[in-house]
Symmetry: C2
């Protein structure tokens, strides 16, 4: 009895180990051979080298493209390129599609134009569109010439959309049928295919002009008797998309209606392509990457083994922003240097006011930004949300301010200082709550993305604001 294989990630790590071991052997012997170059070369060593190479190649050939991509991503640059050289050239294209952007760049940089074109010839128009932005310009032009008219049209169309639009994500692997035939005819038609496109959970019903009239789900096809007409069993109001639709909204529709695939239709009703759950998953993954990277102050995904220089470039933009906001906060403190000289405890306590305010403001702005993204927060909710967040900030400010006030009193035996600290905590948290609601809603009203840099912005406000409030109150009431 055949026992089903496990293809879970554990065994993937095993396979990574196997490849690494083989690679080390391969390179070890290669080095030996190289060292003896020109001199007498030991035939046995050459043979061992060859044998290792063959075994490694065989291992790589067996791997699913996604697994090969994973292994390439997990290897330091030098070893990565060594493995890449051993990959069969007709598999280059499908593996390039699977690796992360950062790694793809490195692999393409290692290929000459000829190799790139060879790799790309096995790909469909929508796959080429994914690769094109990373390819040298003249290679793309050359590739265009090798395509037939339909494929070239599709590639051009896909490239004309930006990455956040449905048109850039759709593929063209669709099965279309007419509505005036019986299901038996459909079944016979399908049997003429060698294989159906991945994620074919529905067939698209079109008329002679290519206008979508409905969809016939494969499930329906399987349970319905053969003699029925397509027109009688198809769904006439499927979820459809326009190529200009926002990809994020398409993702929400896929989640909401549990879709596997959906037709993309232009404004005249003509079928243009289809979206599949696969592209939606990729999009979700990339969006999450971007959010997580931006939140941490990184511009783009970074190959974990990227060179130091590349990494410096990826990180400098947000560091520069951070430096500016830190400088502003520093100048706010500078305003009060006299006060600090007179009461040095202020210097020790001021980062607490700023830090806790920042945390509290981040809590508020995160909730609002997420609510806006899912559509649950509307501009009209502003006042209600402000009241609620102000209430939360007031309670948290009073509680934690009192705790801190007691601790400060134990340290400095200065009741007035404790009261100023507590008041500053309350006020800074109220400021954080106010800004945490107002900033994202203002950005929505002005048509911007409320998420971008929201954490940096609120932290800058609570830092400078916290220093100003605390040192200002202290200057007025303590000195």
């Amino acid at each position: 009895m055949p026992v089903p294989n496990r293809k879970s990630p554990e065994s993937l790590t095993d396979r990574l180990d196997q490849v690494t071991t083989l690679l080390r052997k391969h390179r070890l012997v290669e080095n030996l051979v190289h060292k003896q170059e020109g001199a007498h070369q030991d035939l046995v060593e050459q043979l061992v080298h060859k044998q290792n190479t063959v075994e490694l190649q065989r291992k790589l050939d067996e791997l699913h493209p996604a697994d090969a991509a994973f292994i390439l991503e997990s290897l330091p640059l030098e070893e990565r390129l060594a493995v890449w050289q051993l990959v069969r050239s007709d598999r280059d294209g499908e593996i390039l599609l699977e690796v992360s952007d950062a790694v793809r760049e490195a692999l393409i940089a290692d290929m000459d134009d000829h190799e790139i074109i060879a790799a790309a010839t096995n790909l469909d128009a929508d796959e080429l569109a994914d690769l094109a932005p990373d390819l040298p310009r003249d290679v793309v032009r050359e590739l265009m010439d090798t395509l037939d008219a339909q494929q070239r049209e599709r590639l051009k169309s896909a490239l004309s959309f930006d990455g956040d639009q449905v048109g850039a994500l759709m593929d063209f692997d669709m099965v279309t049928i007419r509505d005036d035939v019986t299901l038996e005819v459909v079944s016979r038609y399908l049997r003429r295919f060698e294989t159906l496109p991945d994620h074919t959970d529905k067939l698209f019903v079109v008329d002679l002009e290519g206008v979508l009239k409905g969809v016939l789900s494969v499930k329906k096809l399987l349970v319905t008797s053969d003699d029925q007409l397509v027109a009688d069993v198809m769904t006439t109001d499927p979820v459809i998309f326009d190529p200009h639709d926002d990809a994020g909204e398409a993702v929400q529709a896929f989640e909401r209606y549990n879709l596997v695939s959906a037709p993309v239709v232009d404004h005249k009703g003509k079928l243009q392509g289809r979206l599949t759950i696969e592209q939606m998953l990729d999009y979700i993954r990339e969006e999450n990457e971007t959010d997580a990277l931006n939140a941490a102050g990184l511009v783009e995904e970074e190959d974990i083994f990227a060179s130091v220089w590349k990494s410096v470039r990826n990180r400098w933009a947000w560091l520069a922003v951070n430096l500016c906001t830190a400088l502003v906060a520093s100048r706010v403190i500078g305003l009060f240097e006299n006060s600090i000289e007179q009461l040095v405890a202020l210097a020790a306590l001021m980062p607490i006011v700023a830090g806790v305010g920042g945390n509290s403001g981040n809590q508020t702005i995160t909730l609002i930004v997420r609510g806006v993204a899912t559509g649950q927060v509307q501009l009209s909710h502003g006042e209600r949300l402000l009241r609620k967040e102000a209430g939360v900030a007031l309670i948290n400010g009073l509680v934690w301010g009192a705790v801190l006030g007691v601790i400060a009193w134990l340290l400095y035996f200065n009741i007035a200082l404790s009261v100023v600290l507590m008041s500053a905590m309350v006020l800074n948290m109220m400021l954080a709550a106010f800004m945490g609601v107002v900033i994202p809603l203002l950005r929505v009203r002005m048509g911007g993305d409320p998420a971008l840099g929201s954490s940096v912005l609120i932290t800058a406000i609570t830092d400078s604001g916290g220093f100003f409030i605390f040192l200002g109150l202290a200057t007025v009431f303590l000195l």
Copy 2:
């Protein structure tokens, strides 16, 4: 010609508006009716009220459960409960499954035991398992009694796994077939179903004991001729999962191999259930929620219209952690109060060293944590990563330290101070890089989750470390 409907999110907002308008009318008249209670009641008003209610109910009945859930989530508590009362009780169950955890809690709190049990009777064992944690204990016990033996077993089994295991996510809607029949027999068998389960992209081939022998993809079934045997065309090495597998790894496998559904099999090879892309999408969404919330210092998803008290409770844990780390940093500054008294510029400059170090450390730790999560960073890479991150930190520290040194000189005309500032920047960023690599790798070695609170931890270190390094250097060299 039937024109396909758009079910995209724009029209969802429209529908939200319609429901809100109807609801306002409904409540307005309801209030009028209530005010006149006991007195003479205007029959016309009563009629208008009734008419509004009927229209609102009709609107709600037409909505997809996911859309009804969205509308409930987008309404403030009072209006939400009013709408909830109008939902047909046989739809309660499917809508409860779709709403977010926080909103579900509020809706269930508004139902009596009788209503909950009525809502739950329409659900499958795996759906019940999703709801069970939010239901009162005795309701769950009562529900158990209403189930047949198989459903009860399944519910118990699903509840025995924790939410991060495949066993808690799988469902039981599978079509199983034998391998000794022809595809024609399979087709005839399928036609006896009224409908197939969602996401049926493959049929599971089992023997008499329920041991999985392979899978037959629907695509294959459609293109292969009728007279072939299942055994000859099925795939014998599908991707399979164990109920104890980690859900996160299952998600990676679904993404890697473009799965729509996959069998779950116990250690004896017996088919237990199946995973579908729908559950994987939900899991991804929830994981992302959790990550985003934790990063912002929130414990759990918060209903945007939750009460102030509920929100305070959700937020206090991370505020408390933040307060402790801020206190430590404050005490570090306290050590150097003498130095600050002598050179008050230190107080203004120290937050810059801490802040930029924190940003830089967050960049490093984010990359390492993500690399660990995807499996691309292994313990053995530690040294190489340390070297790289130290290099990046050195360059960034020198560049930005020099910029800041110049600015500080322009402000304070003190070259020694500028040099100390620059040195402190470099050292704190090196500390951040070191800790950013070492902390997640140490946590992996000790078997923990490297992501949890990583940002808080690294910020705490770069704050206290930055103050200590800067003020320490200043005390030694400037005073």
